[in-house]
Symmetry: C2
Subunit: 407 residues, 2 copies
């Protein structure tokens, strides 16, 4: 049984968090307080750790360092330190040194080996990260660490997200209960030069690093990797998961349904919240592809449809335009049989087995007035493979945000 | 030597064309004349013919029929018949029958076997094509055929293109001169439910069908297939090329530089005009990728950059945002080495060997004020492979056009 609870990343036992202001983000003179821009998340004991990183080949320094550390520590971590306001990306050897110093400073404060610290940054690309400010922030954050610190950490990782993102659940199994919590930031791209998605998850289940890694990879593929705002993928994207074991509930298999369902509940919620907070987004759209000849085909078609500018503008305009959905699926590269293909908007089949049903357009248009909707495309390719992605509509506001922002 | 001449598809000897109104397009009550919506292009003698078709698996009926006919006729064609206003796509078995009837009617009028007729349609998807109107149009167009008919044909294939597109050149070789002409329509997507790109080319060089097909494929990959407005690809896209041989100049090799350069001059011009006329486009951008490890990598990176919403909005805003260019190249899947990668906007290197040069941002922003610009991305992957694509900027007008149009 899964039940939503309060507490974010500090809902699971064995974790403390803090978020502080250390001057990396520019201060808004109209506001009394400086913006939070450094988060620290610490496990009471060394925890099993897992991570998924951006597939972008232009990776930022903190991604390189975190990947190294996870390898050196054999999947153990004691702390995660994150700054916002500066991505420490495209900063060359100097940036790499700063990312290592950032991990070292957190390790010194917490009292763990440097390779048990994971680092993450989000913000402007190409600008140097001021390690002095980071050090001050870490010292300050370490003093503030608390088992109620998730909200402060959640705010400290935000850039231009329209709202903060947090979720926690309690998972009850025959062997007892454990919790999973998470915070995330999404795709506000006004201040940084591109979207960065960061997710930080914790659990108090006891899970070995290798099992945790496989479970995270599997769930991330169905959640964080199944969302798109504009098909872009940043230099800094990462999702970290730490398992403290403090609940005493042991998970030994990466296909354990309690662990997977719990992770899906947290990661799925955070991922959909990221789409909902996408730049200029007014609608959350679930794209379901069925009838695919293979899993790869199902994902290919879902990704192409979810990123199609013509599909996304049609959704913005509330237009039940099955032609654009058919064309996007057709050009995706997935096996596609037009005469057996179907398109439904919500429950309304506007195109069935190759035949348009434009008489149902008004019904479908009604479905599209809602802020959330599902479009289902059957590829007619004879297979039973499916894929589900989440996307948003494409508005003039997206263009305004991304065109009028001058670096 | 290549010289631009007048005359479009009827510049080469041995071709006549016509464009007529037959009532497929809705009439604008404010205008005295009905819009042209049927074009006929006829060779005086059976001509060598070549074609490239959409890669979309949801192909329209005329694409299926033209492909069949080219196979049956072993690459010979006498006529091309095209209607605008109705795409005859997603129309099932009935649509296929109509496309065959359309070819049959043109064959009867011209006096050639049906499989020597290529057919093409552009316009609304899912609506039936009225074969009665098509027959009337063919009869009328056949009477109007003229060696000065290219302009009428050019207008008859347009849908919502902001301007018509035509080009012809004279190619002078040691063996004599021949001409190549072409007309095209682009990506106005207001009236049809998606972009359709059609190109019709003629030459009076004497070229065997197999040679003509290979030359067309090669040049189309560098021109029509190297442009993008929004990454979409229609059910109806096609480019046809007919060679009459009337100049007496014989071309025997598909790598003949005179043929290839002539085709590039015509197809390249038409392709760039299609981008310039893209929905909401205000700028024509040449994307050059260098330093790629393979040709495939160069094209992959060029295509990803040319379709990146963040790159295209930055160009719209005149923002020399090398970060978005680096990120798009980095996520493309092509081998990419950040520390050796470079980005230039026009001649201004804003990112060189992994290091930002933001002091040059004002210079680069000046380059971006022009209506045409080149961005060059060196992948730093050690290879010498390159690719060139053409794209346009991404404006709020694009969203307005595609969201506010309600089917």
């Amino acid at each position: 049984m899964i039940r939503v609870i309060e507490g974010g990343v500090t809902a699971p036992r064995g974790f403390r968090a803090a978020g502080v202001a250390c001057g990396i983000k520019r201060r808004n003179p109209a506001l009394a307080e400086a913006p939070l821009d450094l988060a620290l998340l610490v496990a009471d004991q060394p925890a099993s750790a897992a991570a998924v990183f951006t597939s972008n080949k232009a990776v930022a320094a903190p991604v390189t360092v975190s990947r190294e550390h996870l390898g050196q520590s054999a999947g153990m971590a004691t702390a995660i330190v994150v700054n916002s306001g500066c991505a420490n990306a495209c900063t060359g050897a100097a940036g790499l040194a700063v990312a290592r110093e950032m991990a070292g400073a957190a390790a010194a404060a917490v009292g763990c080996p440097p390779d048990q610290v994971l680092v993450s940054s989000t913000g402007v690309i190409g600008a140097p990260l001021d390690i002095g400010k980071v050090r001050t922030g870490i010292t300050h954050a370490h003093r503030e660490l608390s088992s109620h610190g998730s909200d402060a950490a959640m705010h400290a990782i935000m850039t231009t997200d329209p709202f903060p993102k947090s979720r926690a659940v309690e998972v009850t199994t025959a062997a007892g209960s454990f919790a999973i919590g998470g915070i995330a930031k999404g795709s506000g791209m006004i201040e940084p030069r591109m979207a960065t998605m960061l997710g930080f998850l914790t659990t108090d289940a006891r899970v070995a690093p290798a099992v945790l890694q496989r479970a995270l990879k599997r769930v991330a593929d169905e959640t964080f990797n199944a969302i798109t705002v504009d098909g872009e993928c940043s230099t800094n994207d990462c999702v970290f998961l730490m398992a403290s074991g403090a609940s005493g509930v042991e998970i030994t298999r990466d296909d354990d349904p309690a662990l997977l369902e719990g992770l899906r509940a947290v990661a799925g919620h955070l991922a959909r919240e990221i789409v909902r907070g996408g730049e200029g987004a007014t609608k959350l759209v679930t794209v379901v592809v069925t009838g695919a000849a293979s899993d790869a085909d199902a994902w290919l078609a879902a990704r192409t449809v979810a990123n199609s500018p013509l599909v996304k503008t049609a959704i913005h305009g509330g237009d039940p335009n099955w032609g654009r959905l058919v064309a996007a699926a057709g050009r995706s590269g997935a096996a596609f049989v037009l005469d057996r293909a179907s398109v439904a908007i919500g429950p309304v089949q506007v195109f069935a087995a190759g035949v348009p049903h434009d008489d149902r357009a008004d019904q479908a248009a009604d479905v599209m007035k809602a802020r959330e909707m599902t479009v289902t495309i059957d590829l007619g390719a004879g297979g039973s493979h499916t894929a589900t992605m989440w996307t948003c509509d494409f508005s003039a506001e997206y263009v305004r945000i991304n065109a009028e922002y001058r670096t």
